[in-house]
């Protein structure tokens, strides 16, 4: 069996806000088709870590490599700033608050990246965007503005927007946390189908069901460090650390 190719590698990521050290050296490797769930209680640094991967948050130090392109950060200064936009366009991101552009329709939201960043011709981008919106079940909502869509629908548009860039991996930052409970399912279903398709995904989440059943690896952060890491079945069946045991007993 050949070893799957490494898509994304983060090495020794540190992040401080002023004197508060939020991330105390985290390393993570995502191989092709990996679905990694990052768990942790609030304040564990899980969202910050995810945002460091595409430099929405600039780490204090560490190294991120995406598809062979690496950015080394020392003293809060990335060494090759010009690669940042490149790395970002290779990593899709789905936000907790959807962050759709409110002045553009669903279709325009999905077309924006391919047309503006990848310079694809309009017609081509439109065909692709229509196909992607169909893919997330929104073929009848393409020309609506975000304010006319429910939270679940908005998040599905946001997923289509990330997919339109044909990313190497997609980062999900608590994608269902801002949704009404009855809308969580439709978004999780789309995410599950992406995982089944073999997409590489890194997901910060509170959805234990998703972490257990869909992900190939679970990472548990505690106080800015990885406390425990492994395949979900093993980890949930016999937690090795007391903090993780307490965490799963609380969220159940």
């Amino acid at each position: 069996m050949t070893k799957p190719e490494t898509i994304l590698k983060a090495e020794d990521i540190h992040k401080s806000f002023g004197r508060l050290e939020v991330l105390k050296g985290i390393s993570l490797e995502a191989r092709n088709h990996d679905v990694i769930s990052i768990l942790g209680s609030s304040g564990s640094g899980k969202s910050t870590f995810l945002r460091c991967l595409n430099f929405l948050e600039i780490p204090t130090s560490g190294k991120v490599t995406v598809h062979g392109e690496e950015i080394l950060v020392k003293n809060g200064k990335p060494q090759n700033v010009r690669h940042i936009e490149d790395i970002r366009s290779r990593l899709g991101m789905v936000f907790q608050q959807f962050n759709l552009w409110t002045h553009r329709t669903a279709l325009e939201n999905v077309m924006e990246g391919p047309v503006q960043v990848k310079r694809e011709p309009n017609a081509e981008a439109r065909d692709k965007a229509e196909a992607l919106l169909k893919r997330v079940g929104l073929e009848d909502r393409m020309h609506m503005y975000p304010s006319q869509l429910s939270g679940g629908q908005q998040q599905r548009v946001a997923i289509a927007r990330a997919l339109a860039m044909e990313p190497d991996a997609i980062l999900f930052d608590e994608p269902t946390s801002a949704l009404d409970p009855e809308l969580v399912g439709e978004v999780l279903k789309v995410m599950q189908s992406l995982a089944a398709e073999g997409r590489t995904m890194i997901v910060v989440t509170h959805e234990m069901g998703f972490a257990r059943e869909v992900s190939s690896e679970v990472v548990f952060l505690h106080e800015g460090r990885i406390a425990e890491q492994g395949p979900p079945d093993e980890m949930f069946a016999n937690p090795k650390t007391e903090v993780f045991e307490r965490f799963i007993s609380k969220v159940k």
Binding site: L56, N99, T102, E112, G113, R161, A162
Partner: protein, 236 residues
């Protein structure tokens, strides 16, 4: 009484209308100048560079703190002096030339409008949704693209009510140029009052005209706001 407003030598209708035309021209020419200065001031005060920021804040603070009429005098007299100095440096035999009151009015009113518009635009800029900017970053857009494609189109929606107020204020402030001998609506009204000794009639007429312009502006602005909010108001 209506012969007072007759068009032609007998009445004041044509003079008042010509004054109105000057007032409207002045306001319309001032608007782009003021908006341009407003954008400059807003960018300066949002800049990461400290000297630029100081310049932006300095400009808005000073201009907002001066009575408009004083600004107008300073521009009219000061700019006139500078112009003549410049002319004589270039050609020592140049005859003294007068700085046009219209240009002085545009510059002075534009500077005042710009200072207030700078604050309106800065506020609008800061109330834009940061998440949408992050979404732009996350797909690899450059800062320029984010500004042009995400921020600028939405800036309008937040700035329009404030800019509308400034426009109406400026429209009324044009009356100040009558003191530097520009034949605007206000000055023609005063002339008419001086000649006919009928202050109440002509001042009332001027009131009605200014007020009509403001009402018209408000109607247009309300429509622009409705357009700018397309897709926003129609919430689920």
């Amino acid at each position: 009484m209506f012969e007072l407003f007759a068009y032609g030598d007998a009445g004041w209708g044509d003079e008042i209308l010509r004054g109105l035309a000057i007032t409207v021209q002045l306001a319309i020419v001032t608007l782009p100048v003021g908006l341009f200065l407003g954008f400059l001031a807003a960018f300066a005060s949002l800049s990461g560079l400290r000297p630029l920021r100081a310049l932006g804040f300095g400009y808005t603070t000073i201009m907002r703190g001066l009575p408009e009429i004083l600004t107008l005098f300073v521009v009219y007299n000061g700019a006139g002096l500078l112009l003549n100095k410049g002319l004589r440096w270039w050609n020592p035999d140049a005859p003294p030339s007068d700085f046009s009151p219209f240009a002085a009015g545009v510059i002075a009113l534009g500077m005042v409008f710009g200072a207030f518009a700078g604050e309106v635009l800065r506020g609008a800029f800061q109330s834009l949704d940061k998440g949408q900017v992050e979404a732009g970053r996350a797909i690899g857009m450059t800062d320029r693209q984010i500004f042009r494609r995400i921020q600028l189109p939405q800036l309008w929606r937040f700035a329009l009510p404030g800019l509308g107020n400034l426009w109406i204020n400026m429209l009324k402030d044009t009356a100040l140029v009558s003191v530097i001998a520009l034949d605007d609506l206000m000055r023609m009204t005063k002339v008419a009052v001086g000649v006919t000794k009928q202050p109440f009639t002509f001042y009332l007429l001027a009131c009605l005209i200014y007020w009509a312009m403001c009402v018209l502006s408000e109607v247009v602005l309300a429509q622009m706001e409705r357009r700018a909010n397309r897709g926003i108001r129609r919430a689920v």
